[in-house]
């Protein structure tokens, strides 16, 4: 077994192992949580090692099984996947830190199940990140859905179960009715589902079928929450804050847009996307999603709901990027995936920390909260800036590249939607931080309901990611360069 294969196996085995161990030592919370953190850090190290190898031009591969001809369970690393894996593993570590603080602080029940499912979800994410073909991706994508279902219904009350039902029905339904037929369609026209640089489909079938397949695959990846398949995301807000952070920033939604990026880059290829009318329709729909979601976010008083709608909008940015008839759109999309993840997880951690410390969940209750929790709200402010896309935050670069790519390819509508939405996000995010930090003297702000206020673990976690937002401002170029091979293939082909 080569070292590349070993790395892939380890990446998959570590979360599984963590799940098993968490289950086994479930009665000893300290041991359980220590081991979870150890596993997180181990996974970070492994994924970073893989990231380096991919950066050096290596592409580790591993074939597990071939159930039928044309169907393989196989893994292969490429830049986008490596980036996704690193992002997810680092944020898992941060989120685990936060979870420990939150779960203990909120005295949640069934904590062992929580950690087990969390680890299983990471197993799914790692599989999605490294999948070498659509079939493998699909398996892990579904595993992710199933592993997160108990997390969404964690509270176990009627509302949680209802949300869980919507969650499963939308995600699994879309997978079965749209995504799977799309995959099978790809397999039957192209003979395989392997991700191929430059695209698998070009030259294999007619334009009509290509259009149909694109629609099936993009809508099938319902985790990307494109309207009208977005309903599950706000509904899933009933989950505890660490789960929301995981769903919105790290695992689930990012798996959705990641899938769309992969499909665009490796199944259709930027060139074919350019030619397909369906891509344009999706662009329009994404533009509408961006604006509508931002408008809805404005109306929400519940902070987590507001953040959820914000996520719907931001995801549509990445979907647009994947559909842009210009290769640099892919790079911008990949970049935005990272930027948004880091910023959004900060926001959720902060929201969760405020809830644990004071019990406040509504925006209207948070005026003056900055008096008691200045540092936390500062982190919130930083992350808000990054989501809006203002310097000196990482989010600025990706938005800039996205708008640039839209203009460059003549998609004025998309560009306009992005700009409008940025303005709207100023309106729905900044007031939260401002009211909390710079409240008029009369406003006292919410009281601590928990001795000790904000849990230290949560504060640390938010700090790490907030600093990440700043750091990414500097690191953006490095990441963009890293993703360059995504577009390079087409650019080279198109040159002569």
């Amino acid at each position: 077994m080569s070292s590349g294969e070993l790395l892939i196996l380890l990446t998959l085995a570590l979360p599984l192992f963590s799940a098993a161990v968490s289950y086994a030592v479930g009665r000893m919370p300290d041991v359980r949580e220590t081991l979870t953190l150890v596993a997180c850090i181990g996974l970070c190290i492994i994924t970073i090692a893989m990231f380096m190898r991919v950066g050096a031009g290596d592409a580790p591969e591993l074939v597990i099984a071939q159930p039928m001809s044309g169907l393989e369970i196989a893994f292969r690393l490429e830049p986008l996947g490596a980036l996704f894996a690193v992002m997810a593993s680092v944020l898992w570590a941060v989120n685990s830190l936060f979870s420990i603080g939150y779960m203990r602080g909120a005295r949640e029940a069934n904590q062992t199940r929580f950690y087990v499912c969390f680890a299983l979800a990471m197993f799914g994410v790692m599989g999605v990140a490294m999948a070498a073909n659509l079939f493998t991706l699909f398996i892990f994508y579904e595993a992710l859905t199933l592993a997160t279902y108990p997390l969404v219904t964690h509270k176990g009350d009627a509302a949680a179960r209802r949300a869980g039902r919507i969650y499963l029905a939308t995600l699994v339904g879309a997978s079965v009715v749209l995504f799977l037929p799309g995959i099978i369609g790809v397999a039957s026209v192209a003979g395989s589902t392997t991700f191929t640089p430059g695209g698998l489909l070009p030259g294999t079938t007619s334009v009509v079928i290509e259009n149909v397949l694109l629609l099936l695959l993009v809508f099938g990846a319902a985790k990307a929450a494109l309207i009208p398949l977005h309903g599950w995301l706000p509904a899933a807000m009933v989950a505890p804050a660490p789960v929301s952070a995981l769903l919105h920033a790290v695992a689930v939604v990012k798996a959705g847009v990641f899938t769309i990026l992969k499909i665009s880059a490796y199944i259709f290829g930027p060139e074919l996307i350019t030619a397909l009318p369906a891509a344009t329709w999706i662009l329009w729909l994404a533009a509408a999603t961006i604006v509508i979601a931002s408008l809805v976010a404005l109306t929400k008083d519940d902070l987590k709901a507001r953040l959820a709608w914000s996520t719907v909008g931001q995801l549509a940015y990445i979907t647009s990027a994947a559909m842009l008839p210009f290769a640099s759109g892919l790079v911008a999309g990949g970049l935005h995936m990272v930027m948004h993840a880091v910023a959004k997880i900060t926001l959720f951690i902060c929201a969760g920390a405020i809830y644990v410390a004071t019990g406040a969940a509504k925006v209207s209750e948070m005026g003056g909260a900055g008096r008691r929790m200045p540092i936390l709200l500062t982190f919130f402010f930083i992350a808000s800036l990054s989501v809006i896309g203002l310097p000196p935050m990482g989010g600025m670069w990706s938005k800039f590249l996205l708008v640039d790519a839209s203009f460059g390819s003549g998609e004025w509508l998309t560009a306009a939607a992005m700009i409008v939405s940025s303005l709207l996000s100023v309106a729905y995010l900044l007031p939260v931080a401002f009211n909390a930090l710079f409240a008029p003297a009369g406003v006292k702000g919410p009281e601590f309901t928990r001795p000790g206020g904000v849990p230290g673990a949560a504060l640390t976690a938010a700090g790490v990611t907030a600093i990440g937002c700043l750091a990414l401002f500097v690191a953006a170029e490095f990441i963009a360069d890293y993703l360059e091979p995504l577009g390079a293939f087409t650019l080279m082909e198109a040159a002569p």
């Binding site: 159930p67 039928m68 398996i139 579904e142 108990p150 499963l168 699994v172 009715v177 037929p181 039957s188």
Partner: protein, 506 residues
Amino acid sequence: MILFEALYVAPPALTAQAPILVIAGPLIGACAAALSPGGRTAWMVSVLTAAFALWMAVAVAGEVAREGVIDYALGGFAPPMGIALRIDALGATMALLVASIGVMGALYSGHALESEVKAEKRTLFQSGYLLCLAGFLGLVFTGDAFNAFVFLEVSSIGTYALVAVGEARDRRALPAAFSYLIFGTVGATLYVLGVGFLYAATGTLNMVDMAMRLATLGDNSAVQAGLAFVVAGLGVKAAMFPLHGWLPGAYAGAPSLVSMFLAATATKAAIYLIIRFVFDVFPEGEFGEVFLSWILAPLAAAAVIICSVQAIFENEVRRILAFSSVAQVGFILLGVSLATPAGLSAGMFYLVAHALMKGALFMAVGAFAVSVRARTVEDFSGIAREAPWSAAAFGVGAASLAGVPLTMGFLAKWSLVSAALQAGEIWIVAVLAIGSLLTLIYVGRMLEVMFFRAPVRGAERAREAPVGVLAPLFVLAGLSLWFGVDATLPASMANASASALVGAAP
């Protein structure tokens, strides 16, 4: 089938006689079981006999893989004078399936009967079970249209009584068995009538001879009606929509061994015979095409949609599984109706997959029944905590039913959809997708209740079933998983079956 080509499992003298021994073995075993002094002995006879049948079926499969088609003339009279067995890749596959399920059922019956069948009835019960096994195996091997009727009845007469024995647990088994008897007999009589018309037109009962003579006949109303009655009659046995009315009650009421065995083999054997007639006996041409694409396919699609919905609104677990069976028969027939090598192969693959997973599901329900009296979905709540191993096997079967990746059910759906796409039948793809979604709903409901709810049975607590029940259950569930990761064996068998029917390798 490649695997079987290298397989010489029996001495040559035995291999030469293997086709008839597959059938005669269980027949003689049934006598031995009826003569045995007690349930325990009868059980051992049952296990040994079924194992012998499986051994011979493997020998036959090896012969078929080497020779292509085996003919065995009974009584030494060449067809059409005498009755001949005729086994091709399809028949060998079916026999392997039926015999394997037979062995699993026989193993399982050791403990399962104790909670469901009265002690004094167990010897006769085992005898009846072996008669059914012999009947299905005979049905699969025979090359004679009337002989098929005889075996249809051998299996049916025993089955009716076996279903009715379920009265010990649920008295609704009795009317269900009665209605099964009425439906089944009407079906068998329609079949005889159809064979009568074909016999009137050709003067022969041997299927090969019949096919040759039909090919030279022109358009004839007797032939058309003959084909229609044959298919309608078998359709009743195969629970082809809308002739499935007998099935839910019968599966729900029967002892779990019988439900499991019927779900895995009875409808399958009838489907097999339909396939035989449609592809081997019917003359090629317009009539067959019209039948496949204008009658079979729409009915199968209706079964997929309507019966899945019925399963969703059903409240008893066995009845959910039963309605699901009718819907799944629809899936299989949709594949068959494509009439392409890929479609037939997918249909056969689905048939095997469904036999394995439905077998596991009914077995698991029986495993729960060892300790608790549970009927409705609510009765099963939280059972996963009390009987985790049985519940795990149930989960695997249910996952395969729902088409979760890495199970055989997924690959089956996959190949069905690919076949439909290849044939350009987009509406079938749509039906398959909707059907799969509906399946997910009722499967998900059962799993949610079993795995995520707290037990509500009060004082009655489920216990884990004994090893004798768990072992065959795990084999079936394990096969559903194993073939989901490496489907080489069933896929090659399905492909060989399809090419035996329509000639071209897919």
